[in-house]
């Protein structure tokens, strides 16, 4: 068998992640945003789970940074930031339990704008622990590498070394962890390390700033999709 190098090849016509981060419209689903599975509209995963807070922007439509330093913001602190930024961006999120009852998110949903069909949740340390307990109750936690890693991270009072889905081989697991690199991390490779070594107060500031940045990205994405 013989082979020769490929000398000409049309660039693939699907975007890279960096292109999507720069231009969230690239993932626009056409028409109104498709409701994600289980009516999850938007989720902010934060430092409670490994190192990866993220906005999940509708089914298949995602963008935004996924970095929060290794300090946990409380539900209240996080919600205050989210409400502050979203109100500036034109969302009218409500924390009224009656409004929240219309939405089901993976954890405890935090705020909802029923008019625009947008909900937000912040996954806190408490949410994580609740998930782990439920998984234990269901007898499947042994396979929930994520949950156990999160437990380890929380127990040690440090950040876990990344979420791990059982079944990935070592390299793939590490690749997933690396996939979580964000624009912020790419621009500043020491950001995460500094977050770990900073004093708690300044780390908390970093976490707050990162979350604020995520909310802004989220708003950009909503604009790109014609929601606001």
């Amino acid at each position: 068998m013989r082979s020769s190098p490929l000398l000409r090849y049309q660039p693939p016509r699907f975007p890279t992640k960096l292109e999507v981060l720069a231009t969230p419209e690239l993932l626009r689903c056409g028409g109104p945003p498709i409701l994600p599975p289980r009516r999850t509209l938007a989720a902010a995963l934060a430092a409670g789970i490994a190192a990866s807070p993220a906005f999940l922007l509708g089914t298949g439509c995602t963008a935004g940074d996924v970095l929060v330093p290794t300090v946990y913001l409380s539900e209240e602190e996080a919600l205050a930031i989210i409400l502050d930024e979203t109100s500036k961006g034109g969302l009218a999120l409500s924390t009224d339990p009656a409004a929240l009852a219309h939405i089901v998110l993976p954890f405890e949903e935090d705020a909802v704008d029923l008019q625009r069909n947008v909900a937000v949740e912040y996954v806190s340390q408490q949410d994580c622990l609740a998930a782990i307990r439920a998984a234990e109750d269901a007898g499947i936690v042994a396979d929930a590498g994520l949950a156990m890693d999160a437990t380890g991270g929380l127990d040690r009072g440090t950040n876990s070394d990344g979420y791990r889905c059982d079944g990935y081989n070592m390299d793939e697991y590490e690749a997933i962890a690396r996939d979580q690199q964000t624009q912020a991390e790419l621009a500043d490779p020491d950001l995460h390390f500094r977050a770990i070594t900073q004093s708690p107060a300044s780390s908390k500031q970093s976490a707050a700033a990162a979350l604020r940045s995520q909310v802004v990205d989220f708003l950009d994405w909503l604009r790109a999709n014609g929601v606001i």
């Binding site: 090849y9 975007p15 906005f55 996924v66 994520l146 791990r164």
Partner: protein, 379 residues
């Protein structure tokens, strides 16, 4: 840095394509294995991965249990942090070991080459008899206990025609993490590659159907090829780098840059230390630098940055030179890239939600797992 412990050179199977056919010899001693743990803790201050490998590692379950127990004890003493993985042919998987794996969160990978005709073509028991039936029973036990376990499926020239059928069968059997590996060392012909191309195309069609149906699965190499474009900015970090992310430890405790090299022996230039004295950094760096040399053959190739040509271990196995690319690898990489890119283009054009989630959402693994755990339904 992670460590792969070759616990034994013995095996209860005799697969025709094994790059390290079973041979008699003493298994790794507990003392050597414990020394490897100490080394792992020194090399990796976060969580050191310890992969049990062989031969067939489950021939030495007691040693595995002892290593895991020792690792956990070291963790309690603040002397390291470990996670464990094991690759097995599955024949010796029993309830007791599966319980250990569940309790200690040992990630399991099992070798199954697909449907009976594909599997039995090469994966034979030590006496030469077929292994499909006992392996199928083990696979069911494995997935019942560890639903996220991965399955490694090796494709040979004579089994390529079963590839799409095999993957569909494994998925239907409950496997969600499927890793297909070509036997690059086999004698592939143009005709074999014609069949392989046909099968990849069938798989691309199935992948699209499965994705559109919302089925969750991880199918390498399709996922990795998509990732090589989507994550182009950091993909180079995911590629194989000899002696950079993991070291292989032979039964005597000698260190090598990857799993192929222990068979070269500790007097070869591939031996880069031992578990007692540690890594010979000069030797390791020399091998690493050599493996990072630009591959002359690939210099003008436009997909060289998305290719598996950096796998020095595979290159060495197929050509005897860590920098020489085998034609089989080159052709396979080109074939995969072109077919998988067209598949991804279609799914992107459709804005297929599950495809976009899988490849563009950093939160996907977490949210997917939460969904599997029953959220929000169990709240």
């Amino acid at each position: 840095m992670h460590l792969t412990l070759n616990l034994t050179t013995s095996c209860n199977m005799n697969c025709t394509y094994c790059y390290a056919p079973p041979r008699p010899g003493p298994a790794m001693s507990e003392q050597t294995a414990f020394a490897a743990l100490e080394l792992g803790a020194r090399l990796n201050h976060e969580s050191c991965g310890i992969a049990f490998f062989g031969g067939e590692p489950l021939l030495h379950k007691d040693l595995i249990a002892a290593v895991v127990e020792r690792g956990r004890a070291m963790e309690k003493e603040g002397k390291g942090h470990f996670h464990f993985k094991l690759t097995t042919n599955g024949l010796l998987l029993d309830d007791a070991f599966l319980q250990l794996a569940q309790r200690e969160h040992i990630m399991l990978a099992m070798s199954v080459d697909g449907v009976e005709q594909a599997h039995d073509a090469h994966r034979r028991l030590a006496d030469g008899s077929p292994s499909f039936e006992p392996v199928r029973a083990s696979l069911a036990r494995l997935l019942a206990a560890k639903p996220y376990a991965s399955v490694i499926c090796v494709v040979n020239p004579d089994t390529a025609r079963h590839l799409s059928e095999s993957i569909a069968w494994l998925l239907d059997a409950g496997c969600r993490y499927l890793i297909v590996v070509l036997n690059h060392a086999a004698d592939w012909t143009e005709r074999d590659f014609g069949m392989l191309e046909k099968q990849y195309r069938k798989l691309a069609t199935l992948y699209r159907q499965w994705t559109r149906a919302g089925r969750k699965f991880y199918f390498s190499p399709f996922e990795t090829k998509i990732s090589s474009h989507v994550n182009r900015h950091c993909y180079h970090k995911d590629r194989c780098e000899l002696g950079n992310r993991q070291l292989s430890v032979d039964t005597e405790g000698y260190l090598y840059p990857c799993v192929q090299f222990p068979r070269a022996g500790h007097q070869s230039r591939w031996c880069i230390g031992n578990v007692i004295d540690g890594v010979d950094e000069k030797a390791r760096q020399a091998i690493r630098a050599e493996s990072e040399t630009e591959k002359a053959f690939c210099r003008d190739c436009v997909i060289k940055d998305r290719c598996n040509n950096t796998c020095g271990c595979l290159n060495w196995q197929t050509t005897g030179d860590i920098n020489a690319i085998s034609p089989v690898l080159c052709r396979n990489e080109q074939l995969l890239t072109t077919i998988v890119d067209r598949l991804a283009e279609k799914l992107y054009r459709e804005r297929e939600p599950h495809f976009l989630q899988k490849h563009y959402s950093d939160a996907y693994p977490v949210l997917s797992l939460l969904e599997d755990l029953g959220y929000p339904g169990n709240r």
